[in-house]
Symmetry: C2
Subunit: 461 residues, 2 copies
């Protein structure tokens, strides 16, 4: 059985059994069956609860062994000591996908770890794949399915697959809205490696995001192999936030999910080898995800900058150095139009300061400079540093800028990144982000990080 | 004459002369007189233009020497070769504050540098203070005055003074809205040192921001002295964005050598000595500025964390180490309330994972945990890592969180920082930011950076 057949039933089952289905409903009931219904699940739900005849209008069974129909996916949410028997019941029923939400296993150690080992043995015996234990399980707004015992409304999503070691990440971020989520929890079986393999084959997914605290021994190499194969074979980027970098952090992670966090430097090197883009915090995660979502890859490290002011040019030089990019060597043909519009004492180069030029002809300066750098074969990416003032009162810079981007960015397969300065920039950001191959980043280092990942990534395949 | 009397007339003059006042008006005219009027300046404007009889209803003079009234501040915007004579005319008129907007001086080198030297000599002879050349000069929405030849509407400002080496910075950022701005331009005279001294004495200003590309020889020590005296004497923070590259026209970024990196480290050390908080990009600038604006200082490095999930606790431990903070050693009294609400297998510590507790009693878990850590004398600051979902459908976490912050944060002089996770968090952020001693940051490293600067800063004096 391939990874698609193994993981698919977790994310989008025709029939799901809920072992430990609650009879309570409404706020505070943590009723997974109710949540599935509210989330829009249109498959069949089979509640299992020895104390109930029915749950939310569905006939309830006292034991998973008594269920008389085919079940693709069983979700278990019962006290930990009863979990091994439930898993065994799933095995007897031929259920091959089991999510265990229950807590108190390797996450607490001792007896919990032993229980988790027992579950692993049962699963192996029956050929069951397990997500969890200690997990919210699956969130899949793309297909309308969740196993979460916490109610979530479906959200506007992007085509991003997430494998997380934490329920926290399932909530997403304003600029990182997962479309399919596997919370691997303690990852006694299904882990980030399986997720990379699965999402690599899932046509709904363009980008794979991983939250990693630690992997099971030996799985590091598997992750590198799976990621490298996915990135090079499909062009889908694999992005990872790996925490527990510090000793003190590592100590805490053992109690959080019961797995050992590896050496930070080892991860760094391994991620490079596996072409996994590593991010350090929520902000960088959103920057990198957005770069891949909104912008084309770069075939080179050369960046051309067009700026309203020298100061940001200076900052860009710092950032270009920091991220190992190159300042594109612009041809005389490229600089000529702005040179011709500038005072004699100014030498137009890269960064290209268009301020004096745009004071004479705002639209002309913006259009000519952008077209010229996009045409230049040494410029693999374009950075635009812009003043933004009130759109209704100050048309010197920003109208010309927006119109130039609208006119030329879609014509070239090069990332065009604008970094605005101004107290009120919402409308400008919105207009620029609508344009193909154009995105806005909050500062010049963020833009440089975006160029960095775009220039390290293989062309879309 | 003290710094207040020297710099005051630049920012809020009773009478300003505009030497080179344009006769054109409207978009594209770059008419400084028109901009002053539109910006709300209610002092007297004296236009100087040999070709005009009047400018926008004000009588124009052909030479500054012919002006027959007291002028506090002259703004010069004429071709560079005429500037020395104009400055001399200001001297003859007893004008002690002169802003030179004109370009083509040390900014282009050669003859321009010689011209700038000449101006410096004239200024010294007459006891004139000069802002510029090559500057937009002053933006002061707090008093309704600007010298900018580019039109700007007044904006909603915070009590922040800026000295910038670039017009770019004058536009501000969504979370960094300057109240009084001196664009020092080429800084032939008035520079960041003067600005720190002046803003230190200006009761309208609570926070001083500097943009530095380079200082004149010998001014580094002056800056350290002025900043240290200001920070320790007034409690006003001094924040600086220093670009490492000082020569805008320098061609290749690869020519950045070890010696330049060394220079950068010298600045690092000097800033520490002067208690100047250094920031590296626009995002960090906004984080640090906001920390000082919205939150009280910390008397210690200890951070207590309350979290909805272990994963962010792990990230926080990494960040606490990265920024030299300490994980507060919480007393048993502090952990007891949440320990009592948690399953037996959970040991409540710092970070304090309240997830299981809040599933039973969301409001109780939030209120008890926050009150307990605020009461703990080892906790100088509090970090709250929270899930945010749609406020209308999921009340498990976020209502209790917001209400606990509203109830307890104002009672203690400790910073309470929330870091939310969720695709839609605007309303949550808005509610939390209204509360005294409470602020929201976009990620855990940003929160740690905020604690870092707040714990390094002297108590308000």
């Amino acid at each position: 059985m391939g990874i698609k057949e193994e993981i698919g039933p977790f994310l989008d089952p025709d029939t799901v059994a809920v072992i430990g289905a609650s009879r309570s409903t409404g706020p505070g009931s943590f009723n997974a069956v109710e949540n599935m219904i509210d989330f829009g699940y249109d498959g069949e739900i089979v509640p299992v609860n020895p104390k109930a005849d029915e749950v939310l209008g569905r006939k309830a069974f006292s034991d998973i062994r008594e269920v008389d129909q085919k079940v693709d996916h069983a979700m278990i949410i019962i006290p930990r000591q009863f979990v091994p028997d439930a898993v065994e019941g799933c095995g007897e029923q031929g259920i091959e996908a089991v999510t265990i939400a229950s807590q108190g296993f390797a996450d607490v150690g001792g007896e919990g770890s032993e229980l988790q080992d027992t579950i692993g043995e049962i699963a192996e015996e029956y050929g069951i794949r397990i997500v969890g234990p200690n997990t919210l399980g699956i969130h899949n707004p793309m297909d309308g399915f969740t196993t979460s015992f916490i109610p979530f409304e479906p959200w506007d999503y992007d085509r991003i697959g997430l494998a997380s070691q934490s329920g926290l990440w399932c909530a997403g971020f304003p600029d990182l809205k997962y479309g399919k989520i596997i919370d691997v929890g303690n990852a006694c079986d299904v882990d980030q490696v399986d997720a990379v393999r699965y999402f690599g084959q899932d046509d709904d997914i363009d980008q794979i995001f991983l939250h990693i605290e630690g992997l099971r021994p030996g799985r590091g190499d598997d992750l590198i192999g799976a990621a490298e194969e996915t990135v090079e074979g499909t062009g889908k980027p694999v992005i990872a936030l790996k925490s527990a970098e510090s000793d003190v952090g590592r100590k805490a992670v053992e109690s959080h999910t019961g797995s050992l966090a590896g050496e930070d430097e080892v991860y760094d090197g391994a991620f490079k080898q596996g072409r996994i883009v590593r991010v350090r915090d929520y902000s960088e995660a959103q920057i990198v995800s957005k770069a891949f979502r909104e912008l084309p890859p770069m075939d080179d490290k050369g960046v051309a900058m067009v700026t309203h002011h020298g100061a940001s040019g200076v900052m860009a030089l710092d950032a270009i150095r920091e991220f190992g990019l190159e300042l594109a060597d612009l041809s005389e043909e490229t600089t000529a139009p702005i040179q011709g519009m500038s005072p004699g004492w100014m030498e137009i180069d890269n960064p290209m300061d268009i301020w004096p030029a745009l004071m004479g002809d705002p639209h002309g300066a913006h259009e000519k400079s952008l077209k010229a750098v996009l045409e230049d074969e040494n410029a693999a990416g374009v950075l635009l540093s812009i003043h933004v003032a009130d759109l209704t009162t100050w048309d010197l810079g920003i109208y010309g800028h927006i119109e130039a981007v609208q006119k030329y960015a879609p014509e070239y397969e090069k990332p065009v990144i604008s970094v605005p300065v101004g107290v009120e920039m919402d409308e400008t950001v919105e207009r620029l982000e609508e344009v193909e191959n154009s995105a806005v980043f909050p500062d010049i280092r963020a833009a440089a990080r975006a160029f960095d990942v775009l220039s390290d990534h293989p062309e879309e395949v």
